[in-house]
Amino acid sequence: MSDKVRVALYWCASCGGCEEAFVDLAEDLIKLAEKVEIVFWPVAIDMKKSDVEQLPDESIDVSFINGGIRLSEHEEMVKLLRRKSKVVVAFGSCAHLGGIPGLANLYSKDEILKYVYLEAPTVVNPEGTMPKEVVKVDGQELELPKVLRLVKALDQVIDVDYYIPGCAPPPDVVKKALDTLLSGKLPPKGSVLGASSRSLCDECDLNKTKPEKILLKDLKRVHQVKLDLSKCYLAQGVLCLGPVTRGGCGTLCIKGGMPCTGCFGPLDNVKDYGARALSYLASILDYDDEAQAEKVIEEYVADPAGWFYRYSLPKSLVRGRYQGSGGEAHG
C-alpha cells in the first residue's frame, strides 16, 4: 500500500453539483492527485458495491459523501462506507442538512410518486405504470431500492466526523477543507470545515453600509427592485439570509447581485436554521398590526418553507410534514 491518503467519494440524492465541485478544483486537482489515492468514486471510476465490501474495515482514510438520504440504497451504501472509513465527511448542503431534496419532506411518499409518475404536466403515462420495489423482467425478479419515508441528512443515518457546507461547496472552501484534512491536524469532531465560524455579514463588504437600525416596512423580491449593489441588500428590503448563514463562501451570491439563500447553513450556536431565520426576520419587520405583516409574508415570502428551510428541512426540529404517528421522523 502506498502512503497516499485513501479517499472515497460517493453520491446519494444529489444533483451532481457536488461531484462537479471536485472537478472545479481545476489545477489543484493535479496537486491533490499526488497526495491521495481514490479507492471508490462511482461517477468517475467503474466500481461496484462488492468492491467496497471486499475492503478491510477502516481501510479508507476519508469518505466524502454528498447528497441526501432518499433511498434504501443510500442508507445501505453509507453504512457500508462508514464501516470501511476512518473519517466520514458530509459534503455539500444535502449531506450536511438534507438540502433541496429535503423539501420533499413536506409531502408524503405517495403524494410524491403520484405527482411524478401520473400528474406532472410533462408526464405521459397512459397505463399508469408506477415504480415497484420488485419487478419481473424476462422472467427475472429484480429488486429496486425503496423510497424512504423521509429524506435525511447524512448524520441522521450514520456517524459523521466533519461537514463541508455549500450548494455546492465553492472550490476555495473545498480546498481549505482538504488542506485541513490532509494536514493531519484534525479539528474537533463535528466541525464544519473550510468555512467561517461567523455569519456571512462578518465577511460581507456591504455590512458597513448598514444603517444604525434596520426595521423593514416592506419586503421586496429581487426582481421587484433595482438593487443598489453597493448597499446592504437587507437594508433595501430584500430578504438576505446572510445574517443567519455561516460565512466562508466569500459572498459569491452577494457579489453576483443576489441575496444569500443560506446554503452554508446555521452557525454552531443555532439549532434550527429556519426557525432562527424566521425569528430574525419577524423581529425586524416593523408593523403595528398583524394583518399587515401577514399580508407581506403572503406576498413576498409566498413559500416560507422554501425560503427558510431551502437547504435544511430534514435537520429542522420538525423534519417535515407530520404524516401520522409512529413514523421514523418522530421517534
Partner: protein, 657 residues
Amino acid sequence: MSDVRIGVYVCHCGKNIGGVINPAKVAEFASRLPNVVVSRDYMYMCSSPGQALIEDDIKKYNLNRVIVAACSPRMHEPTFQAVLKRAGLNPWLLQMVNIREHVTWVHEDTPDKAEEKAEELIAAAVARAAHLYEITTEKAPVVKSALVIGGGIAGIRAALDLANAGIKVYLVEKKQSIGGKMAQLDKTFPTLDCSKCILTPLMVDVARHPNIEIYAYSEVVDVSGSAGDFKVKVKLKPTYVDWSKCTGCGLCVEKCPGRAPSEFNEGLGFRKAIYFEFAQAVPRKPVIDPRYCLWFTKGICRVCSKVCPVGAIDYEQKERYVELNVGAIVVAIGYEIYDMSKMVEYGYGKFKNVITGLQLERLSDADGPTKGKILRLSDGKEPKTVAIVLCAGSRDEKHVKYCCRFGCAAALKHVYYIKHSVPDSKVLIFYTDVRAFGKGFEEFYQKVRSWDDVYFIRGRPAEIFEDKDGSLVFDVYDSNTGQLINVKADLVVLESAVVPPKDWEPLRRLLKVSCDPGGFALELHPKLRPFETTADGIFLAGTIQGPKDIPDTVAHAAAAAAAAIGFLLKGYVESVPYLATVNEDLCSGCGLCASVCPYDAITIEEKEGRRVAKVNMIRCKGCGACAATCPSGAMQQNYFTDTQILSEVSTLAGGAK
C-alpha cells in the same frame, strides 16, 4: 464549576400542594435525577426552619445549585435567593419550579396527572440547572440633577420639590412664561379661589430658587444616555431680546405698534408683537414674534430697540443650544384642548358665539379681553340664555373616547361665572352624566343646582344653527323626559375634550416612553406606579399621563418628584441580572440586535478591524428581544440562554421518566 451538585426542595405549601400531590413521593423521584445530591420535602419551605434546612444542606452537601419546587417565582424567588446568598452561593444558581399555580391549583381534579406533571417540571429544572451560572450586576453612578419638561402647575410643583431636596433642576418651558393652563383660569372649582392668586407665588418661588434654572421659550430636541446619566440637548428659540440685559420693565411692549391674536386669551383679543405671555409672566422677559413684528415683516418700526433703556433688543439673535447632563427627567407637558372645529355639528370656529370653556375662563378673568364681563363675541351684548355642553368631543367614538375628568366640575364653575356676570341670565346645562366625584364637588353641584334659572338637561345637542341675530338654535332629545326640546341660546359654551399636546409625539419618541390608546404617556402600572414609566429615570407629572384636575395634578407631580428624588439620592443605578451578553467571537456585527432593542442599549462598534455588538449594561432591561433576533446565536440573555431553555424544553418533550 464542573461538578454540578443539586439540592431539590419540594414544598407542601400546607394543603395547597400537599393536599393534591404527595410531595414526599415527588422528592423521592427527584433524588434519582442526574446531579441531584439531596432531595427533600417540607411543609413550608419559605418558613424560617424551611429556609434553614436549605441553608444547612448547601453547606453540608456542598451544593452549587438549588431547586425549590413551590409557588410562583414572583412570590418567593427573592426569598430563596437570599437563602443562597446567606449560604455563600450566587443567588442566580437558584431555579424555582412552580408546582402550585401551574400544577396543584389547576389540576386538583386529576391528582395522579398533577403529580406526573410536577415530576416532569422538576426533571426539566434539573436539566436546566446544570447550565446555570453565576450572575453579577454592575453599578453606575447617578448624576444628581433633574430635568423638568413643562412649566405648568405639575412642572412647577415637581421642580420645587426636587429643588427643595437639594437637587439641581433645569425647567424647560416652551412658552415665554411658565404657568400653564392654570394661569389662564379665572377661578378654580370647587372653592372658587382665584387661580392666579394661588399660582403666581409658586411661579416666583421657582424663579428665585437657587437650585432651579429656567429655560423658557425652549424645547428639548435630543435625549441620549440612560437613566442616571442622560444627555439632553435644549434648543433656546430666538427671543430677539437679550435676556441677560433685559430688566423686564416692559416699555417695549407698551410702545410696540404690532398686533397679534393673543394665545393666552385663546384667540380672543390681541397682544403685541413683542410680548409677555401674561402680566405676571415668569421669567419677566419679553419675546418678539417675528410673524407679526413690523421690522421682520415690513422692515420698518424698530420702536422697541429705540425705547429699550438697556439696549437689550437684538434682531439678529439666532437660536442657541445647551447640553444638560441630568440623572432623571420629569415630563410635565400637560394637555391641549381638542380642536373643536373638528366637531362640525357644533359650528365652533364658524359661529362667533360658540366658544370653549377655556375661552369662557378668559372672558371671566378681570385681566381678560372683556375685563371680566361675559359678553357675546358677535355683538358685545350680555348673553341672557347660555347653553353649556358637557362632554363636547369627549366620550365620543368619533372624537375622543375617554372622559376629560374636569369638564363637569368646570361647567358648574362656569354657571357661577355666568350668573355672577349676568345675574338675570338663564343657564342650560346639557350633560350625559354629571361626574362630581372629587372632594367638595358634590356639595358644589348641589349648590349650583339650587340656583334660580339653572337647568340640567340630560342630552347632547344635535346640529347647532346660527340665527340672523347671532344666537344659536338646536334640538336636544332630553333622555330624562323623553322629549325633543327646541333651544335658542345667546351663547354656547363647549366643555371640550382634551388631548396630549401636539409636540408630545416627537418628544415621546426621544424619551422612549410608551403611550396609551389616547396618546397620553403610559405609566408603569395604572394603580401601583402611576407616575413612573417603563423607561428608567423618566417620571410623569400631571396631565401628560391623562386628564386630571389641579389637586390630582399636584398630588401626582409631588409623587413623581418624590420618586425622582428617591432615584437620584440612592446614588447609583444597577444593571438587571437578565442582561444580554454578546459572544464577540460569534458576532458578525450584522446589527440586527441593535435594530430591535427598544432601549437603545446596543451599539455596533469597530473592534480589531471588525464590527461587533456591544451592550450597555445599564440601559439593557433584559427584555430578550436581541437574543431572540440574533441570527448567529451570539447574543444570549443571562438566566435564559438558548442552552438553558433548550435543555429544559427537550427534557419536557422527552418526558420525565
